[in-house]
Assembly symmetry: C2
Homo-oligomer: 334 residues x 2
Amino acid sequence: MTVTIYDVAREANVSMATVSRVVNGNQNVKPSTRKKVLEVIERLEYRPNAVARGLASKKTTTVGVIIPDISNNIYAEAARGIEDIATMYRYNIILANSDQNEEKELSLLDTMYGKQVDGIVMMSDAVTEKLHKSMEHSPVPIVLAGSVDDTNQFPSVNIDYFQASYEAMQLLINNGHTRIAFLSGPLNYTINSKFKLEAYKKALQDANIELDERLIISEDGSYDSGLEAWETLRELEAPPTAFFAGSDELAIGIIHGVQDDGKKVPDDVEVISFENSKLARMVRPRLTSVVFPLYDIGAVAMRLLTKIMNKEDNVKDKNVIIPHRIETRQSVKL
Amino acid sequence: MTVTIYDVAREANVSMATVSRVVNGNQNVKPSTRKKVLEVIERLEYRPNAVARGLASKKTTTVGVIIPDISNNIYAEAARGIEDIATMYRYNIILANSDQNEEKELSLLDTMYGKQVDGIVMMSDAVTEKLHKSMEHSPVPIVLAGSVDDTNQFPSVNIDYFQASYEAMQLLINNGHTRIAFLSGPLNYTINSKFKLEAYKKALQDANIELDERLIISEDGSYDSGLEAWETLRELEAPPTAFFAGSDELAIGIIHGVQDDGKKVPDDVEVISFENSKLARMVRPRLTSVVFPLYDIGAVAMRLLTKIMNKEDNVKDKNVIIPHRIETRQSVKL
DNA sequence: TTGAAAGCGCTAACAG
DNA sequence: CTGTTAGCGCTTTCAA
């Protein structure tokens, strides 16, 4: 039924090895032979079977991508970066959502191993011990994208979350605020607990501002939790006058909460976000935000993975930190 | 190096056929044998090679998903629906972005065929003739998700775009508007030109409102083009008092354009959108919007594909239309 | 209930 | 420059 390399060989009066050579661009083929084979390939509409090829060569030219949730803009952006570079290097991508659930992550890793992917890009907000162990035993290279593993044992691509957060806090502190709220997603996510929150505390401490635990709110990171955060915090005897929000959605939630309350941003309350997705410009006032370059992180992670898969030995830095910056708009006064 | 079915067979003193049977849950295995094999599998950490399996069985349990752009929320949502159902039926997904570029779509289809996927879910805003032809010759079933092919020749899942758009327009018309602008993405996208725009015209005609071509704007569908649309239209001697926007981003762009201009929504200008993503609630006033249930469309499309792949003959309706509705919020007066 | 054996379609030595 | 020949790891008859 389907045309195989064997059919082409027969029609072209050559061996299947020769056909294989022309298909794989091997130079050791006489031009005239190549031409003949190419013609037959075209005529028969021969299309190499990647599965058979994968079995024989032990290379599938596909990489696994495990992310928490593709419908979340932040991960989708990273996925796009990953896919673009993968395409550039002729890899395909098997994409799967983990919902940040350890069991799913583990099972997905197993699935990827079974599918014989050539490598894996993993995004996980919490690299648990079990995850770590499975990754250690991986038959193929894995690189972490926008995800932190305490041991720094796996190749990874990130920004300096602590420093970026610290700078965001400084902006607020320099504007004279002493009541600054911290709002983030789950604190069992490494980046939230070990970097954003720690930077928040350190910045406060360095400025001799007393820490008020009530100003630290960790929910699911959604727009609604931003909205609710203001609801809660406004009841304090001294409500916060500034917010360090872990994501754009959160920041917009706060802004709308404040505005629905008849107050003004940034006049009454200033807000800085950590993400800078396209949402940042789609709110009034527009968000001042730490730029979390997800697309780049995904792209660089995938590029790093190709290098490792190719066993290029010039892979010096396996733990890449890409630069960050703060995009200044109107939700924080200048 | 890697453990194969053969290693397991040897260790368990059975033939590889038997191991294959237990791995595949074949019932024709004596329980005691099954137990013995299972133990060896566990001990050796045997993991079936899906590539070899795919070659032998001619089934890869993976489906191809071709979408315009995963970083676009609308497609990401659909992708999530597709993946969830795929996971449920134990399929994996090879995801690729086409950027709505015909050449890429064609080449991606070829890639998918080559990878021996068991089926394909395709999202394309413009099923061109070439695309159509390639799909016709596909060795595996293809279902269109949120995409229209004029011939209705391929299984598909959609909503009734025309009717939904017509209802949106009626809402505006019933509110007394006679200057209603139409704003959408590219008009070479079938849904925009053949359904949204046609419904716009028909609704106007049915209400005896004269069509003003200057009120029809088709750009790239971005937030900025929404912003700019207002810039342009406000200069008219009779600016529009209502907008039918093809997407949430567009609608928010318009709203901000109007507001930045010192006018009010919905008092001065009413806006209805066609999407209802989570953005719809993240703007003030919140968007009244036709609900375009992308997640469901993806999920139903994938479910339909599993049925076709399994050759279930109860697949009556290959062109599924799922219900739509309008979510009423504040950007349109009641 | 189990095993033997023939592929699946291709790559990759190796020989010529 | 080209052909021969083993596999790659598994599924799937066919027999027993």
